[in-house]
Amino acid sequence: MPLGLFIFLAALAVLSALGVILQRNPVHCLMALVLTLLDIAVLFIGLGAVTVGFLQAIVYVGAIMILFLFVIWLLNLRVEQRPSGHPALKLFGAIGAAALFAELCTFVIKAPSTAGLSTVPAGFGSIASIAQALFTNYLIAFEVTSLLLLVAVIGAVALARRPANIAGKQSRSL
């Protein structure tokens, strides 16, 4: 990936991420997050993980974020009025996050510089290569994941379902 492109994407990612946590309006936060995710998807593609990048866009942006949007609408969230959180909490939180950031960066710097991008095999990151890994080495994990999703679906339905008495009124809404 060319340097300029990377710098642009990185800056965009950081800015939009900051937008996620700094804005007051949940929908704006969500939009910022969507932007971040797309940006990261592009970074994936730039790193040769083409399939994963597109999947990130499809699943994350196309589905999960919409879910967030729905919930925000369902709860009819507006701009937060009161300043959020306890000041001490904020202070320590900021300190902690900063410390963690410093440490992580140190790691990255200390890490054995794999600058020499190892020459990747042909079709690296293609859907075929991923499927190869997924259905051989990670087969069990794959199956278990399907189970996880099933459980999540059932759990979500069970949790968010309204009590039967008022459920009748709301069907056919929207």
């Binding site: 990936m1 946590i21 990130q56 709860l75 904020k90 950031f101 991008l117 996880l148 999540a152």
Partner: protein, 101 residues
């Protein structure tokens, strides 16, 4: 010039730290969930960078699993938020303290 993977990792670190800050600083539970997604993606970015550096596809597979996990987590988390909102009429973390001593 070609950007070394470590830069991507550094970017991942930044995003992760931002996500952490979001989880700790924001009261709105939904925004906290968003921040968690942010952290997950930061980690994903690192994974992808490493997989590129090592030329192995495993990192990408793991990212796939993480995405699946994120989907499940979002579904359940949001469902919980809805359920609790029905009872408490709030999405502020510091007002959801039923588990208090």
């Amino acid at each position: 010039m070609i950007v070394p993977p470590s830069w991507f990792m550094a970017l991942g670190a930044v995003l992760f730290a931002i996500g952490v800050a979001g989880v700790v600083l924001r009261r709105n539970v939904i925004v906290m969930l968003m921040s968690i997604e942010l952290m997950l993606n930061a980690v994903n970015l690192t994974f992808i960078a490493v997989s590129r550096a090592l030329g192995s596809v495993d990192g990408q597979v793991i990212v796939l699993f993480v995405i699946t996990l994120a989907a499940a987590e979002a579904a359940i988390g949001l469902a919980i938020i809805i359920a609790s909102f029905r009872n408490r009429e709030t999405v502020n973390a510091d007002e959801m303290n039923l588990m208090r001593w």
